[in-house]
């Protein structure tokens, strides 16, 4: 059942995802055109969250496949349960069954271990399949993925072809560490996730950090936006902002101007490399603070 765009936007808000303007359209389009959605953007802008929110919107299961270099079909698709198979062989040999019956038995569904991709096409209710950081996987895997995404069927040599029971909603994320193939890009809808604007980030802080004051949330969001303008090696993501907000709330700070020293010290939540830390010296952070407050 397809939801209308407005319904998706409402539901996103209801599940606590503070959506940017266009993501609801992209999510609606996914359903409308039955295409996967490719999300790109800097690390930490909340790409994975979109997948989670989508699962919540459709009230369905989220199946996540984290990609890494060397990810192969065994880890992504299916695997036989070798230990059980060996046991079965031994016990059945003892009973005196013939080899063919044993083989037929041990290569049945009972001994098949589902991995994320297979699991995603065998659910009755279409789940959300989140393929995280697809750029980390090898090119061979990407080609295989492409095949799966167009056919939605898997052939297992010992068992035959397994067709999709339902077509999952597929969200792929990429950090751009490797150029993805044109074929994969063309197969997918594309959405570029940017760092949230100040207002939106303040809203995110408010929804995710219980008991924080609105004024402080806004100040934090402004400060983080200023920090992102600096030339940093690792830009602080939304998760870092939330950490920082929680820290400040925990320290019972109500105004960023209140204790510049504490603010400077807690900025380790935002700056994760030595280089960035030294770049944002006390003076710089005070200058930024004065701009924010």
């Amino acid at each position: 059942m397809n939801l209308k765009r407005e319904e998706i936007a409402e539901k996103l808000a209801a599940v606590g995802y503070v959506a940017d303007h266009d993501i609801a359209t992209a999510l609606w389009l996914m359903d409308f055109l039955k295409r996967p959605l490719l999300l790109e953007g800097e690390a930490g802008v909340g790409k994975t969250e979109v997948g989670k929110a989508l699962a919540a919107v459709h009230d369905t299961e989220l199946i996540r496949l984290q990609c890494y270099e060397g990810l192969d079909q065994n880890a992504a698709l299916y695997e036989w349960n070798y230990q059980r198979q060996l046991l079965a062989i031994k016990t059945r040999e003892g009973v005196g069954e013939n080899a063919e019956t044993i083989e037929e038995h041990i290569f049945s569904e009972k001994y098949l271990l589902e991995r994320p991709l297979l699991a995603a096409i065998r659910r009755n209710k279409p789940p959300v399949l989140l393929i995280d950081e697809v750029d980390r996987a090898d090119e061979e895997f990407e080609a295989f993925l492409l095949e799966l995404l167009s056919d939605f069927q898997v052939s297992i040599p010992e068992l035959g072809t397994i067709k999709a029971v339902s077509i999952p909603r597929v969200v792929l994320t990429s950090n751009g560490t490797r150029e993805l193939s044109d074929a994969l890009r063309r197969r997918c809808l594309y959405h570029y996730v940017d760092f949230p604007e100040v207002d939106r980030e303040a809203k995110i802080i408010l929804t995710r950090t219980p008991g924080i004051e609105t004024a402080l949330a806004l100040q934090i969001a402004r400060m983080v936006a200023e920090v992102r303008k600096e030339d940093l090696r690792k830009m602080p993501g939304v998760a870092e902002t939330l950490d920082w907000a929680a820290t400040l709330a925990g320290l019972e700070i109500h105004d960023l101007r209140q204790e510049p020293e504490t603010i400077y010290e807690t900025m380790i939540c935002l700056l994760k490399t030595h280089e960035d830390r030294s770049r944002l010296s006390r003076e710089v952070s005070e200058r930024l603070l004065s701009r924010v407050a």
Binding site: W28, F32, L33, Y82, L86, R185, R186, Y190
Partner: protein, 412 residues
């Protein structure tokens, strides 16, 4: 392409009645407009196929088309495939659709989101002409900041310029037979470099582990008795090479030679990227992947022209570090900088960027053609600033000196 798209478009009136009353997009000709839009996108380097156009037509007849505010993001999600597409889409969309649909809203010369059409464009807002005009405008923009934008797209621009200026300086510097000989030598050298690297990896990775899972699987047919063993070995990956070629005026004499060398390298290495810099940095690997040697080299020579002026090595490296490094550099990457080190920028900046680069990659090799000169010592300020971060500083004034590098590169 156009024939098939147009047939879709002309078939559109049949779809017309499905579009309900008050829609902004008129039913008649919507398909044709869409085909025009797809063509405009294609002209701007978007990869738009029939499937996308078909899907876009479906979107156009869906409720999303009722509001331009939702139509734009929907088409953007559909037509874009990369970040640079994403960034340019708004402008192209506004220029194409709002240009004709909302003629009363004119913002001249502005860069706002609403509409950036010039009066001239509005005057010729008829589809094909408009598409052309837009193409011009946007192409010019792309050329303006080619460092960032032209990535992966340089191919088309290069091709057309190659036709325009097919007789380049190159021809006068080196005669054709010599060109062919140099290229063959460079390619052979690059290939042998790569072969050595691979072999070396294999020898080093002799320690193998038992792959238990696979062993058990393989021996299921023996009733679980382990007869055949499966081994696990680390995957052998060849070295990745990134070449940064200085094409400034001071390097003039050597550019032609190194263009050939770089082409040989990109041809032979599967994972090689090439950049050319003078005052700006340009990503040239896409143009170099042309199998036609002469054409590829001509394209690159053209990009390497336009120059003559000073070199800003620091700036160019900064661009590289900022925009390209993350994608093209990994822990197996060797950087090869070919430059004489005459930098018109601040040496401090060069040193800083070299330091950053050094931390990301495996080795930095700096080839300096001037070393071949008698009595040369690296006095240039830029060279002085960069030297501490260079793993190998070597002469490169002729092929012999390059060949001498081979043992070292094999060890990287």
């Amino acid at each position: 392409m156009p024939a098939s798209v147009r047939s879709r478009a002309s078939g559109n009136p049949a779809q017309g009645p499905r579009v309900r009353g008050d829609e902004r997009v008129e039913s008649l000709g919507a398909g044709r407009r869409l085909a025009g839009f797809a063509r405009t996108l294609r002209d701007n380097g978007f990869r738009v196929g029939l499937a996308e156009t078909g899907d876009a037509l479906a979107v156009l007849t869906s409720p999303a088309a009722a509001h331009p505010a939702t139509l734009m993001p929907a088409l953007r999600a559909l037509f874009c495939a990369t970040h640079s597409d994403w960034e340019r889409f708004d402008e192209i969309f506004d220029a194409f659709w709002c240009g004709e649909g909302m003629r009363q809203r004119q913002i001249l010369g502005g860069h706002s989101q609403a509409s950036t059409l010039s009066a001239k464009k509005l005057a010729e807002a008829h589809v094909p002409e408009e598409a052309r005009g837009l193409l011009d405008r946007i192409e010019r923009r792309t050329e303006g900041d080619a460092d960032v934008e032209s990535e992966g797209r340089g191919r088309r621009e290069g091709a057309s310029s190659a036709e325009r200026l097919s007789a380049t300086d190159l021809r006068h510097i080196v005669d054709p037979a010599e060109i062919a000989a140099t290229h063959a030598l460079a390619a052979r050298l690059a290939r042998s470099m790569r072969a050595r690297l691979v072999r070396r990896e294999q020898v080093r990775r002799r320690g193998r582990r038992l792959d238990l899972r696979r062993t058990i699987h393989r021996n299921v047919s023996h009733g679980g008795t382990l007869i055949e063993l499966a081994w696990r070995r680390r995957k052998i990956k060849p070295l990745r090479l990134v070449v940064l070629l200085d094409a400034s005026g001071s390097m003039n004499l050597y550019t032609a030679f190194f263009v050939r060398f770089v082409h040989g390298v990109v041809d032979a290495f599967r994972e090689a990227e090439a950049f050319v810099f003078h005052t700006r940095l340009a990503h040239v690997s896409p143009s170099l992947r042309d199998r036609d040697v002469t054409r590829a080299v001509e394209k690159l020579a053209l990009m390497a022209q336009g120059i003559g002026g000073g070199t800003r090595i620091g700036d160019s490296l900064a661009t590289f570090n900022r925009w390209h490094a993350r994608r093209v550099i990994n822990s197996r990457t060797a950087i090869m900088i070919v430059s004489d080190g005459y930098d018109t920028g601040a040496p401090g900046q060069l040193a800083e960027e070299m330091r950053r680069l050094r931390r990301r990659c495996r080795k930095i090799v700096w080839l300096n053609p001037l070393i071949g000169w008698r009595d040369y010592s690296p006095q240039a300020r830029g060279m002085q600033a960069a030297l501490p971060y260079v793993d190998l500083f070597a002469p490169a004034h002729n092929l012999e000196s390059l060949a001498a590098l081979e043992p070292y590169l094999a060890k990287i």
